[in-house]
């Protein structure tokens, strides 16, 4: 195997890893984009919503008997589907009981349009979820185990007898699921009446109320939907990576970076933003020590945002 072939092989391997993990990051980001893009609320608890999704999927799989009914191959994905409505309801209630008190029309008179209150409220919720999670679930690492995650397909050889890459079957499944969820969501947003009202509420909340859209309700559904989507991403991630109650902190930043890169307000942009983060993270290991993997994400993020503040898919709207 020549030097070039070795390089090619590790490049392709990293590229594949980046695409696979990027697809899941993308889904997480889409979930956040539903909340951040539509309501413009910075939700620090989004990572913890994802953590909840992981645990609900985990307990559905182990305690509720999804594993015994569907087996270890299909079971983990069924658990993700089981977790979705649970987290939808959770998000719905969190918005109704807490978030709605510091967002929407009520905040017009508040300092900084209520942003300060929103931030600190979601920080408080994040603290409760993390620590409550530790009490309820314990702090040891768990995962939704599927045999797929410990086997791989070999692709190649691409270059003579060499240069072949291994892709983990579990990750492939998770990525495919992720893409399927996004396609379904995209269809819903662009075609359905609900989707239209969500987009209208995002674009101009005030005008939306004039044309008879219940913005409060649109926000509540967006919040619930965003929670549910990120939670599903969490469930998919849980089939490949072990997790603990504080896992949200690691991902919430990835999510925001992805959403900002994609352009605030663009749902599909958020997916590509998340994908970009996954690729940068994996490809950076080719040239830099693994420890700096996360630093590279942030540096690339800063460079892109400063050069193109509106993100890949955003538009500049500024009025005096």
């Amino acid at each position: 195997m020549t030097e070039a072939q070795i390089m090619m092989e590790s490049f392709l391997q990293s590229l594949a890893a980046g695409l696979l993990v990027g697809a899941i990051y993308g889904l997480m980001c889409v979930g956040l984009a539903m909340i951040f893009g539509i309501m413009r609320v910075i939700n620090f608890a989004q990572g913890d919503f994802m953590m909840l999704g992981m645990y609900v999927a985990f307990y559905a799989f182990t305690l509720l008997g999804v594993q015994t009914i569907f087996g270890s191959y299909v079971g983990p994905y069924v658990s993700v589907v089981v977790a979705a409505p649970v987290l939808f309801l959770f998000g719905y209630l969190i918005h109704k009981l807490l978030i709605s008190r510091v967002t929407g029309l009520r905040t017009a008179a508040l300092e900084g349009e209520g942003h300060y209150a929103q931030l600190i409220l979601t920080l408080g919720i994040a603290l409760i979820l993390q620590n409550g999670g530790m009490i309820l679930f314990g702090s040891q690492l768990v995962s939704v185990r599927t045999p797929l995650s410990s086997s791989a397909w070999e692709l190649g050889p691409f270059w003579g007898d060499f240069v072949s890459i291994f892709v983990n079957k579990g990750r492939i499944m998770a990525s495919l699921f992720s893409v399927a969820i996004i396609l379904a969501l995209w269809f819903m947003i662009t075609r359905s009446r609900l989707g239209k009202s969500l987009r209208a509420a995002a674009d101009n909340p005030e005008a939306s109320t004039y044309v008879g859209i219940d913005v409060e309700r649109a926000h509540r559904i967006a919040f619930a939907l965003g929670t549910c989507i990120t939670a599903m991403a969490g469930g998919l991630l849980a089939t490949n990576y072990p997790f603990h109650p504080f896992v949200g902190l690691e991902y919430v930043i990835v999510m925001y970076a992805g959403v900002v890169l994609g352009g605030i307000g663009s749902t599909i942009g958020a997916f590509w933003g998340g994908m970009a983060i996954g690729l940068v993270q994996q490809l950076s290991t080719l040239v830099l020590p693994t420890q700096l993997q996360n630093s590279v994400i942030f540096v690339v993020f800063l460079i892109i945002v400063i050069l193109r503040p509106q993100g890949f898919f955003g538009r500049v709207v500024e009025r005096t």
């Binding site: 920080l123 994040a126 409760i128 620590n131 999670g133 530790m134 009490i135 420890q291 630093s295």
Partner: protein, 598 residues
């Protein structure tokens, strides 16, 4: 003197705090007492940037961490005392502020907030990779004092009290001078601040440098107190979050906020940790989180403002009521009342000189394929009132944005008093004598009219007292002198419009650009504002005013420029313009043109 007086409550607090601290011998509780002050200082650092400018930073741990690592590494490698390293950390913090601020201030709102998050996290991994996972300060048994290593923990508290005092004095000093006014103006409306003659980038950089310096010093002291530094404990997201938490909990934009927040949250967190942490790990975090959630729902703007509003609430609402009755009885203070619709010649005692104060030559600006302003030329003579009218979307506001420097034209010239202003920043153009108001008002709700207007005065005023004097005069000219101390949040639309006008006036402009000053006003209110504007013109200020309704304008202006689809449609005297078939068509459509001619 007034300044010292305003600090009396703070000195009272500090004295009481020092007294209590002096009585506590238990070193665990003493540490807690010290940490309250540390986080209060850090909160004040955050408040300096984010509280006053409104640019929320999620990344204040950058400065904190740089300060902490400067101090530990400085002592470990060079054996320098923390007494000196604290100042080095302060300088590094300020430098980091400038380096981070320079690129990041290109961003606004959420983009700024989230980008700030990236800096400390990037640094965190770099410090880990460099092998500084855990750095301990070497113990100095012989010359402990020289190395700020006190056996009696109360000394740390005393040092922290000195630090806090210094920071509070600095913050108060900033608050009451043009520095603070500039930051607050940026918070309410950056564009308006720039138009009021404030060099926004410069002031933001000063704020972040000062904020970084304070955070650097605080981080340095934190390292000395805890003796050990890890990347997560100084660069971690929770550190940045702590600054936000104490400030927002206590109240943003006041020195008291971070102090109240730290004094409540830090002990609660620590005590919960000590009491319950060992029995049910995590319960302390849940209770702490719940406390934050409950209080922020009850007081979304923080404890300080809630308490203050409660205390002032009753008194203020009574005063306003009494006031309104008085105004209603007295009627509008403004001079002669015009009958609505009556056609009065615009010039009364006004002299329009031949001197051209503003000349616009061939100005064009496109957005994508849309020519928003298309080859516009006109001249304004000193002393005249020029009305720019046109239907919605005709390019009026874009034209103003080109005139005062928010936008750069694709081609053409803007000549103000003989100088080409194209490419100059808005604050430079303001300093050159062109003031402006905005279609969308954004007053600083908690500030008095006087303070709102004072912001506009700094571009000309050399001292604080002169700024106040300019503000007073401007307020008197628009007729708001009686209510000058009233909070902006209690004003009517008309009063807000007049306040905006006063703010523009405070910069002592020679020419005023007014963007839809009459929008949203009732019939008699329009007359009052028109009279004020006329009064200004009588005093020799040249006025260019945009409106899309012609009615009120006809009675006000000497000359019209009618815009349609970005281009000048007609340019002429009011009588001629109102009869011009092209103008009627642009406004009402073709159908009416026939009527007008018939």
């Amino acid at each position: 003197m007034a300044f010292l007086k305003s600090l009396v409550p703070f000195f009272g607090f500090v004295a009481a705090y020092a007294l209590v601290a002096g009585l506590v011998e238990n070193s665990y509780y003493q540490l807690m007492i010290t940490l309250v002050l540390v986080w209060a200082c850090f909160g004040l650092s955050w408040n300096m940037l984010s509280g006053y400018t409104g640019l929320i930073s999620f990344g204040h741990a950058s400065f904190f961490g740089i300060g902490a690592y400067t101090t530990v590494l400085g002592q470990v490698y060079f054996d320098i005392s923390p007494w000196i390293l604290m100042w080095v950390s302060t300088a590094f913090g300020a430098l980091a502020g400038l380096l981070i601020g320079l690129p990041t201030f290109r961003l606004r709102g959420h983009y700024f907030a989230l980008s700030m998050l990236a800096y400390p996290l990037a640094m965190l991994y770099v410090f880990e990779w460099l092998g500084y996972q855990e750095v301990t300060l070497p113990m100095k048994r012989e010359s402990a004092w020289l190395y700020m290593q006190f056996e009696d923990h109360r000394w740390y508290t005393m040092v922290a009290i000195l630090m806090l005092t210094a920071i509070v004095v600095i913050t108060r000093q900033v608050e009451r001078t043009r520095f603070g006014m500039a930051l607050i103006a940026i918070k309410q409306n950056e564009a308006a601040a720039e138009a009021a003659g404030i060099d926004t980038l410069l002031w933001k950089l000063r704020a972040i440098a000062l904020s970084g310096a304070i955070a650097g010093a605080t981080g340095s002291f934190y390292a000395v107190v805890l003796l050990v530094v890890t990347p997560a404990s100084v660069f971690g997201m929770l550190v940045s979050a702590q600054a936000l938490t104490v400030s927002m909990f206590g109240g943003v934009g006041t020195v008291w906020g971070p102090i109240i927040g730290a004094a409540f949250l830090i002990p609660v967190g620590e005590i919960l940790h000590a009491e319950f942490g060992s029995r049910i790990p995590g319960i302390q975090g849940v209770i702490y989180g719940l406390a934050i959630v409950v209080i922020i729902i009850a007081a979304p703007e923080g404890v300080f403002w809630k308490v203050r509003d409660l205390l002032r609430g009753r008194a203020a609402s009574k005063a306003i009521q009494a006031d309104e009755e008085a105004t209603a009885a007295a009627g509008p203070a403004a001079p002669p009342k015009d009958e609505p619709g009556a056609f009065q010649p615009a010039c009364s005692k006004r002299k329009i000189s031949g001197e051209v104060i503003l000349e616009v030559r061939g100005l064009s600006k496109s957005f994508g394929g849309l020519r928003a302003v298309d080859n516009v030329s006109f001249t304004v003579q000193r002393g005249m009132i020029l009305g720019i009218i046109g239907p919605n979307g005709a390019g009026k506001t874009t034209l103003f944005n080109l005139l005062n420097g928010f936008l750069k034209p694709d081609s053409g010239e803007v000549i103000l008093k003989g100088q080409n202003m194209v490419g100059r920043k808005p604050h430079v153009i303001c300093a050159a004598g062109a003031g402006r108001t905005f279609q969308i008002m954004r007053p600083f709700a908690r500030m008095s009219i006087t303070d709102n207007v004072r912001v506009g005065a700094y571009v000309r005023a050399k001292s604080e007292s002169e700024a106040l004097e300019f503000a007073r005069r401007a307020i008197a000219r628009v007729g708001l002198a009686d209510i000058a101390d009233r909070q902006a949040s209690a004003l009517t639309t008309k009063q807000l419009r007049l306040m905006e006008l006063a703010r523009a006036l405070a910069s002592q402009p020679e020419i005023l650009l007014l963007d839809e000053t009459l929008a949203g006003l009732g019939h008699s209110e329009v007359n009052d504002v028109v009279n004020v504007i006329r009064g200004l013109a009588d005093d020799g200020i040249t006025i260019v005013i945009i409106e899309h309704t012609m009615q009120a304008m006809v009675r006000l202006v000497d000359h019209f420029v009618v815009l349609d689809h970005g281009a000048v449609l007609v340019d002429g005297a009011p009588e001629d313009v109102t009869r011009d078939p092209q103008v009627i068509e642009a406004y009402l459509g073709k159908k009416w043109r026939a009527y007008a001619q018939g």
